[in-house]
Point group: D2
Chain length 376, copies 4
């Protein structure tokens, strides 16, 4: 049986989520090959070793270059902070490895394009962790739209709001500095909703955005009364025009009290509508004009075995999937994409297009105007 | 006991809603005077007579000028289509009557200002039918914000979407022509959400908008295959910046399948959030950071006698108010505003500010730029 | 035009609700005659006078017998406490008046039967205030069931829970004493859900119930530390078997924290299901097996002009009705039932059947057994 | 590091769910030892072999006795149909193995007691798969109740409804025959809600139940027009009285159209209430009387890292857990219960008590009376 040997860089929030998915993917899905958890890289070699054990990996290293260049690694999985994605990915590509990277792909579109071209030139396969599009419920939304069940899409409203920095006294982190994070909520969560819009509607052709840093300073952890300067946006929203003529708004906030995983979208078509709320990730609401007028209403569809991918998790409908399950689908896609001709999406190019929209939003804000995009 | 004698112009959708409220207001609220349903005006005198009977009015006329100039009328209530508001209001003001007008006040800000200045010069009282701010639930939202319970407002997302023209084959109506309606959904429903934003947050200082007519032709009723040209917007959204520094988005659509009374807002503050959905008009969702972290959540408050105005309708909480009940509150405000020193809001000036935002949105769209407003 | 002259006894909670409905019914519905608010009776003649003015009635009295025997009264409306319904209704019937009574009809089935037989013998018309069945949304549920859209009903779960006595320190009231109220929540709110089950499913043929008084004493208002003995149930639930073979459970509580108007039902049929939540009284959830399996879901139907009676309130769907609007439908039924051949339901006989179920529930509890009912 | 070697019998629905959990538990939780997937048993040795590979087990067998007696197995996991639990568990106990069994433990209380006594005598550890109590959201409910945050529990309404047999034409299965399944929905899903009630409230002391087989015949798969006789209940409900004085109702149905995982409970206390809906398994609704009266409402708490066990899955709140995640918690409990002094619940004794309630419900139905239980 074929094997795919994975090297994981970074063992924080996402590192663990990937590790769990590496374990479950094989038990859940019939895979075309075996996934082997080969090596973990971390800043601190001791941490690397401990995590390798915890996550069920064979080996560990305190030096990510070592991992990237290890001959027994087929795919490099980058779960390190944003500013490291580029260097790590380029090194992995240079070593002929496939790359599985967390989002946003890069700090800006220029870097993302460089990475994309490198990967394409090297002929390695790439996948970026925009996991929300992997949810069976979201795949169902895609299917409904593609079938024309809601007609032509005319409007898309998407938000991705959380409150993890809503408290003005939340501690300063790397995410608040340009050099490590790039933009703020725009690249962090906004990138997910941009990718979702690309997935469900069409490429975004024009952007007009507003950004705001509400809390301009945050206390630095471990210090007394020392404040760090926040360098990027707490909240952003933008008007978009899609290549297919639909229009919409996208919004993201990291200071939206009460929202915990507030990725939310409403798609309006000429024959019906869809509503999705990520906090209820196994529900899709569908309205169509097909029913008799006095029987029309939003239908709450609970995702089940008659929908994409769900049956592999559970034979009963409505039993619910969780966040980590989306990563398991993503890992299934990774393995199949590497071992077979199955398409891999969103790849670096798709993620580069997301970065383009993020950059356009910042330009739009700075220059107070609409910005056009040309997706190649 | 003091009396307020009302003359009603127009007996369609809103004419009836006002008539119902004229009946109920006195039974629900202790009023400072008696409301008398004096006269109805309609285009067709027979219709006027029939409706006067149905609605419980004393007299009727086929000529609205007659009503406006009748000495026994204290307040002229304008429920005619948008393009007639100006002429009727100016005539009523000239005759020294108070004016209760449906929204939008005028086809454009220039007209609205002329009406406002005339009313202010004449010293008559005015009220405009932005009824959704009268809902006890919305008053509660206002109270929570004013108390600082959610801190400083940093974001407002408001929509007012319906699907009454979502069917591409819906018949052509006066609302689709500039000369009768002015803008499309922008002035029709958008004006409500703009007024709501003004009520809950602050004056809107800057606007950047996008508008779209999706269905450019509609079949003309009673004809075979004759199509009318739609002259105004089916959907609109805009980014706004408020005078107090908060930012937000406003959206309106008349083609949003599934939305029946989709006035919806989410207000984010530095200490909490509010969510309101007009399709569940007796519920307010409140999130505050006061509770212990592991007990925080959006709290669904069912409006009841401990909230503004509700106790007059019912002594039990959660028994629910309806659309017509908001009009009853509006009429209570009208009567009290006329007979006492109680403030009347939204008056013509407030409605003019709404018209200003609508005009700014159209300019913004045409010129693809942010437009600043200076509210006097 | 024909007239119906109403005499109202009792001006508390329900007295006001009826008064509002008397005002609105005519403005909302085209009625077959005119409703005249003739006279109000209260214990205290001054209160009677004041309320007559407030409610827009012509005359008042401190003696309900006077009202009942007044020749200008066509229909006697009983909004006094439960224990007075019988005496007042029998007197009204004796005087040849139609009777509109609040629920529960009587303290027990024996009294209710006596009242029913008297009314039937006298040939007067009767209506009992089980207003929740008048809601257009509930009428829609009835229509769906009658059409067979959910197949044969196999199960009904109904609750009517509130929290108005959930606080152990709520003051003692007449509702807690047998002689004034009869049973507790069973007759007060339970009667509504029993009537709803009769309306939607079939007569209840067998009952097995459990009752409980959780707070056995309550502080007497205006006293210091004096406690009144609670003589009836705080919470009740029962299993029922319907005459048509369906089974179900009914529950009522006046101490259910958080429930404000918790009349809730779920009807399961062989082809679909319905869910209704009175706290969202303009929504009905419908599930049918007709759709493709992967498109099935509960459909949230917002009540609108394509549903029973709603169009009279508003031409736009989803704009929402309130508690008082249900009373307006009830009053419309009353007027039409009196002036035309339109059927009046629930009449005294229907309300007597509700009292029978209440009595059976108490017997069942006391004797710890199933009790059979024979509805004549 | 200590090891726990698992042998799995049965590779259907639950077999796979267990297998997934065996993989994930270690990646999610820090365990006191290593879980080894040792052997799979199935009826057909080929199937056993294929599944062993798929699920990541070392060995396989077509004879479960072999597995039970294998010296390298520490714990026998029974995922076979109900009627086999007893024989398999007794054999495993005899071989000195710990037993992890799916629910219901046995076809009746007598058998369950025999199994319980055997396990207790042998000193082996046991755990039964009532996974819904493992959900962090449900653990939170338990914590809130135990803390007294909603006062004394006075009422519990619990349902567990699905529609997997709602279609009258669903094929005949082993679950419909007494010898393989015991009771119908009562033991299948009812057992979950009974166990939930035991977990959250107190032992059930008295039961009065009604059962019904709605579809008395079902088509036998692969045959033409041959029908199988359904021998057990499609729907059941019961009134219960808890040992601590609270009362409640429990309901289960396998023919409730629209319900997919309709485990739902509402717990009413003297100071507040809780609502849980398994179809939204990461939400708990809490109402308490602590807030100011005009700020009270059901609070939708999204489960997060500040709640029991969740942080191991994800550091962000509200990201959602799924059905399989509950099994991961269950497996964590299993491993810790075996390797440490941590309590294991629900063990065979707890599951026996559930079987007792099921038996009492059937007796109650047959004899049309309340049945008392004495939990030892
Ligand atoms: N797809 C999604 O939903 C999410 C994606 N992310 C993305 O995942 C990436 C990582 O974020 P988190 O896991 O939240 O951050 P984290 O701070 O929890 O973890 C980052 C880890 O990378 C390690 N690291 C840093 N420099 C390293 C180096 N030079 N060599 C090896 N390891 C190094 C750190 O020690 C740390 O353990 C980010 O790009 C982020 O945007 C994060 C959260 C959710
Ligand atoms: N506050 C709110 O929620 C709503 C406000 N409106 C506003 O109410 C106004 C009226 O709209 P609808 O009632 O929906 O229209 P409608 O078309 O139902 O009724 C308008 C009525 O005015 C009468 N009318 C027209 N010209 C007249 C004249 N010269 N003299 C006397 N009567 C005349 C028409 O015959 C018709 O009966 C509009 O300005 C609209 O924007 C409408 C719906 C909702
Ligand atoms: N349909 C529904 O949803 C509801 C029905 N009800 C029913 O309405 C009836 C009245 O209840 P509420 O209005 O809540 O009570 P309430 O206590 O608010 O009002 C009762 C009124 O009757 C008056 N009254 C008492 N004795 C009288 C007498 N001998 N002559 C004249 N007036 C007398 C009292 O002074 C008081 O004003 C009850 O039967 C109750 O069950 C009450 C609430 C809701
Ligand atoms: N905790 C929960 O939520 C759930 C629990 N269950 C319980 O799990 C148990 C199994 O149910 P399902 O997995 O749904 O059934 P299933 O029919 O999907 O799987 C049962 C498996 O056991 C195998 N089997 C039968 N006899 C065997 C034998 N003598 N030796 C070895 N293997 C044998 C069958 O070949 C089949 O693969 C039942 O007791 C059921 O009540 C089922 C579903 C959900």
């Amino acid at each position: 049986m074929k094997q795919v040997r994975v090297g994981l860089i970074g063992t924080g929030y996402m590192g663990k989520a990937h590790a769990i998915a590496f374990k479950t993917a094989g038990a859940i899905f019939p895979l075309s090959g075996e996934l082997l958890c080969e090596m973990v890289a971390e800043l601190d070699p001791q941490l690397a070793e401990r995590k390798a054990k915890e996550f069920g990996f064979q080996r560990s290293t305190g030096n990510w270059q070592e991992l990237v260049n290890d001959p027994k690694i087929d795919v490099v999985d980058i779960c390190a902070p944003n500013h490291l994605h580029k260097e790590m990915a380029l090194a992995a590509i240079a070593a002929g490895k496939h790359v599985y990277s967390e989002k946003p792909l890069a700090l800006n579109a220029k870097d993302a394009l460089e990475m994309t071209l490198a990967a394409e030139a090297a002929g390695v396969k790439t996948l970026v962790g925009f996991n929300y599009v992997k949810n069976p419920t979201v795949q169902l939304a895609k299917e409904i739209i593609s079938n024309g069940e809601i007609g032509e899409v005319v409007h898309f409203r998407g938000t991705f709001n959380e409150d993890y920095l809503a408290d003005a006294n939340s501690e300063f982190t790397w995410r608040l500095k340009r050099e490590f994070s790039g933009s703020g909520t725009l690249g962090d969560m906004g990138s997910h909703i941009i990718n979702m819009a690309h997935y469900l509607v069409a490429p975004i052709a024009q952007v007009c955005a507003d950004l705001q840093t509400v809390h301009k300073q945050r206390p630095i952890a471990g210090t007394t009364e020392q404040m760090g300067e926040v360098e990027n946006d707490d909240q952003v929203h933008m008007m978009v025009r899609f290549a297919n003529g639909a229009i919409g708004t996208l919004e993201s906030s990291r200071i939206a009290w009460g929202r915990k995983n507030g990725l939310w979208f409403e798609v309006t078509g000429t024959k019906g509508s869809l509503i999705y709320d990520q906090e209820r990730l196994s529900e899709l609401q569908l309205y169509t004009q097909n029913e008799a007028k006095n029987r029309q209403g939003f239908r709450r569809i609970l995702t089940g075995p008659d929908h994409p991918d769900y049956a592999h998790f559970c034979v009963s409908a409505g039993h619910g999937l969780g966040y980590n399950d989306m990563k398991a689908v993503e890992v299934r896609d990774l393995i199949e994409g590497i071992l077979t001709e199955a398409p891999l999406w969103p790849d670096f190019r798709a993620a580069y297009q997301v970065n383009q929209v993020c950059d356009a939003a910042e330009t739009s804000y700075q220059e107070a105007r609409w910005v056009s995009l040309s997706h190649e």
